[in-house]
Symmetry: C2
Subunit: 371 residues, 2 copies
């Protein structure tokens, strides 16, 4: 049996744990995993592009554990009542190749993205940062705010979205949690006085969400929305004047803000900052940019944390996803075509049991669906 954390279980686990604590816990584990960067077998994610969206697979492994995520990005989905980004994935044992956990990852991705932004901000933003501009008030925004508060103590938000309803939603969700939320009158207005600017917009276009002259010395930009070829958010002049940090350089060259810049434009992979091999922020005047696209290691970390957190609890269900014949050579026994003869000719009494279980399962499903 494979452990299952579906949407109701994930929702309940996050609610009962507290999203802020879950994000902080993942951020702490992420820092430890980034510190052992060279132990991971890394690859750029594999994208299937269509005219209106993308579907990606994000695999990664170390010597013991393997993880992958399936994730889509369809900016026109909300207009159809669907999520822009949905995800699910698996965590597996490298030694047997068997999956350990299947999980919904729409919610988990929001947690791990917030955890990554917060963990990176701790290295790159000014420690005295107090105000965050939040440009783009969609599904990720509340999680980003909770992460920055949990790790950086930031409580003051300046929000902006071209959709006033999205701003209403962020205000409604975050003010009861103790955030001071200022509704800006424009993107530029949101950036005024901010220490951190988080961009989390969804359009698959080469947008300029933040202009260079809005960026003041000492600001940290947490650019999470530009994460796909043809989908960026920042004025390239910002990148040229700032110190730019990325997750996994080969993937960021394809998908990040730096896709507009020459292949030798200098960037620093975050693991080098975390291990002390490279400097992070070096002065209070420096502009830092986290050109984040989302990397598979963050998913592995989140799945590892989830597995440890929910294993053996009611938050973990079960999924019968791995065929387990009594004799591992005898996969065919699971479909029971040998029937009576097979049972008579061998000790494979279990193949009969399997058959019965199969029929029972279908009958149960039949009852549940009214068919």
């Amino acid at each position: 049996m494979v452990m299952l954390v579906d949407v109701p279980r994930m929702s309940a686990w996050i609610r009962d744990t507290g999203a802020d604590k879950a994000i902080a816990d993942i951020a702490a584990r992420l820092e430890r995993d980034y510190a052992r960067w060279n132990q991971f077998d890394k690859v750029e994610r594999i994208a299937a592009h269509s005219p209106i969206g993308v579907i990606e697979l994000m695999p990664i492994a170390d010597a013991d554990r393997y993880a992958f995520k399936y994730v889509n990005g369809h900016p026109s989905n909300p207009a159809r009542g669907l999520q822009t980004v949905t995800a699910f994935g698996a965590y597996a044992d490298v030694h047997t190749g068997y999956p350990i956990l299947i999980a919904e990852m729409t919610l988990l991705t929001a947690l791990r993205t917030a955890a990554t932004s917060a963990m990176v901000a701790r290295h790159l933003a000014r420690p005295d940062s107090e105000v965050m501009a939040l440009l783009g008030n969609g599904s990720q925004s509340e999680f980003q705010a909770l992460g920055m508060r949990a790790v950086m103590g930031i409580n003051r938000l300046r929000i902006w979205d071209t959709d006033p309803g999205a701003m209403d939603k962020v205000q409604r969700n975050l003010e009861p949690l103790g955030f001071e939320v200022v509704r800006a009158t424009s993107a530029e207005d949101a950036c005024r006085g901010a220490d951190i600017i988080t961009t989390a917009t969804a359009d698959k276009t080469l947008a300029t969400i933040v202009h260079n002259d809005w960026v003041k010395p000492g600001m940290h930009l947490n650019a999470i929305g530009g994460d796909c070829p043809g989908k960026t958010e920042l004025d390239t002049d910002i990148l040229r004047r700032a110190s730019v940090f990325v997750e996994y350089e080969p993937q960021s060259r394809i998908e990040g803000e730096i896709q507009h810049l020459p292949a030798d434009f200098p960037v620093t992979e975050m693991w080098r900052v975390i291990t002390g091999e490279a400097p992070g922020r070096t002065s209070a005047e420096q502009v830092t940019v986290f050109d984040s696209v989302g990397f598979a290691l963050e998913d592995l970390t989140a799945l590892a944390h989830l597995t440890d957190a929910v294993g053996g609890t009611p938050y973990a269900g079960e999924l019968d996803l791995v065929a387990e014949p009594e004799d591992p050579r005898d996969l065919f026994s699971l479909i029971g075509m040998g029937g009576v003869a097979a049972t008579a000719a061998s000790s494979a009494a279990d193949s009969t049991t399997e058959s019965t279980e199969g029929s029972a399962a279908v009958q149960r499903v039949g009852a549940a669906t009214g068919r």
Copy 2:
């Protein structure tokens, strides 16, 4: 809700449909899909190798549908009571990025591999073929035999495995289904008088399961076991004298029998034979080799067939794997942290419903697991 076909449902569907009919149906659909080869967005599978096995992701898409499979290969698993190969995967809508179906694919892979072998044999084996040698009597072997019978009418088998227990199993499973099964005394003996030689061994080594002098004019070799760098089955002299056919050349150069040969060694992709662009078998004396490694298109075809076959029937369960907040911008509502304030401030009564459902689900799981 995503459609779910787990192991009990897949077992029941195959048993009730008949494995031979399921394989024949998939073979027919596979031929249609191979005929529209250029409509697919193809990529080599993405492998994570460890010292004792491999975990792979196999994605593919056309303009409407996306599929991927997770599959491992761990030859030492049976000694630990586990399957060498297990798999699961998903079928998704390119237009929304949403998954349609999650399925166990250990059994489904056995069906689609048998369907592929049979469909290809129809183009490459002599139409008067009557006898198949079956070298390697593990999990795939019965499915291979059923596929060759369904498509080629082959009823006579000469089986060989280094493990007599595996031979016992094939005999026990297939004789009651009307096959004439001859237990060979060696691999060479199994090949005597065969029209088709199927190699389906599991060791991750550069093995020579079939020697060149055992291969007689007119034979067709269906080599399905060599499917990974460092894992092959045929004497390379066989390849040099035969006409060699592959699924997707870039992947086969890495994983197939042809990994030992120069990059310009001539091979023919099967879609060209199926569309009539290239010849298949041209004489009764020709030796043909299907250097099969397994390609993602075969999984997409199998998942498409399964979706059509089980949709709306008791064989399809449901999995709550895609977060669906009432307001698609408001993913945060699913964890209900806004609580009373959120409900009061908006019309989001459904976020309360979601919370209740989440708790109920956990309670149900708790009851089921005794916690």
